[in-house]
Amino acid sequence: MDQTRLQKVFRDIFDEPALVLRRDMTAADVDAWDSLSHIALLAAVEKEFGVRFNLADVKGLKNVGDLMDVLEKKGA
């Protein structure tokens, strides 16, 4: 999983060009990361990595590390 590509998606969606991803980063750390932008984020990640998230993937997705792990599992 290419963290630089994931970071670019986060920077674009949240309009924060200097955002640096950390595994423990959550919505609490990013002002614009709310319930609506969370959907936009996941849709953009699906597009960037050519994956489809199902229910099992989004279950318990509480921080960036969880998202990275899901992408790893999907071979992205």
């Binding site: 919505a27 609490a28 849709a43 699906e46 318990g60 509480k62």
Partner: protein, 301 residues
């Protein structure tokens, strides 16, 4: 305070904290109502082995299922469930899934601005029902609307419940048995398809909350509502637009489509609320296909 429940939700779904806290800043009384809801449902929770933590799990499961359904909807352009029969098999006939999902939905009345607004319109409608009224609820699920109807309509009201799901009927009876046991004798439960339901008497008030989006033929449901209302009787409906969920079948893309069906069914709208799930300008709501909750009080045209 329902802090154990809320902390568990926020820990598992950090984006929910922002949404729910913003809602409580705007409607602080809703937090007190959540606490009251937990008190009312506590005996049912105790009887069925549920704790505040497992309730948080039910809510988060429902919210995550809705999130996964929304991603599917944005990707594929339609809801995941293809028809009523598949939704019935997936959710309503599976006791574990159904109970957790219904409890999550009941909780959302006190956690989501859109559902809270619809719930308030419902309470307004029930408060106006005449004493001794005959009331029908179609699709009773979590039992919260039935509980409120029995509380607000007073001891003279007789209430019927009709539902196509055994699991739903069992859950409602379980909630009522523990939350308002003295009212159990005033409620008749019937397993039936509402479109062909033939009661002995007509009704003063028919409740059909969050049903229309779950069926293949919402017009048939509205026509049955019209058919079973007494002259001057009222109905309450709530539904939603662009609202994918595991068991949502009928896709309304604009609230105008709901009103067209209401009109075709021979009903007229007395009052309505229309609340998007996110506070954003209309153009953004449309572009992102944000779900909009809709509820109205109806009577025969």
């Amino acid at each position: 305070m329902p802090q154990v429940f809320l902390d568990a939700v926020y820990a598992r779904m950090p984006t929910q904290r922002k949404k729910v806290e913003a809602f409580y800043r705007e409607h602080p009384q809703a937090l007190a109502e959540l606490e009251r809801f937990l008190q009312v449902y506590r005996p049912y929770m105790d009887a069925t082995g549920l704790t505040d933590l497992s309730l948080a799990e039910c809510y988060c499961n429902m919210a995550e299922e809705t999130l996964a359904s929304r991603l599917y909807f944005l990707r594929e352009g339609h809801y995941p469930a293809k028809d009523q029969a598949s939704a019935l098999a997936l959710v309503y006939n599976d006791p574990v899934t159904m109970k957790g999902y219904m409890l999550g939905l009941a909780l959302s009345q006190f956690l989501w601005k859109a559902h809270y607004s619809m719930y308030n319109l419902f309470r307004e409608a029930v408060a106006e029902v005449p004493a001794g009224a005959r009331i029908l609820e179609v699709g009773s699920g979590h039992g919260l609307f039935l509980y409120q109807a029995l509380k607000l309509a007073g001891p003279g009201a007789g209430v019927d419940v009709v539902d196509i799901s055994d699991t739903s009927l069992e859950m409602t009876q379980g909630v009522l048995k523990t939350a308002l046991p003295e009212a159990l004798g005033r409620v008749r439960f019937t397993k039936a398809d509402f479109t062909v339901y033939q009661p002995a008497e007509l009704y003063d008030f028919i409740i059909m909350g969050e049903v229309l989006e779950h069926v293949d033929d919402p017009l048939g449901m509205l026509r049955s509502m019209r058919r079973l209302l007494k002259p001057g009787g009222r109905g309450y409906i709530s539904t939603c637009v662009n609202c994918p969920a595991i068991d949502h079948v009928y896709e309304f893309t604009e609230t105008r489509e709901i009103k067209i069906l209401v009109d075709k069914a021979g009903l007229k709208t007395l009052r309505e609320v229309e609340v998007p799930s996110e506070d954003r300008p209309p153009a953004v709501l449309k572009a992102l296909k944000i779900d909009v909750s809709y509820a109205s009080i109806l009577e025969g045209a």
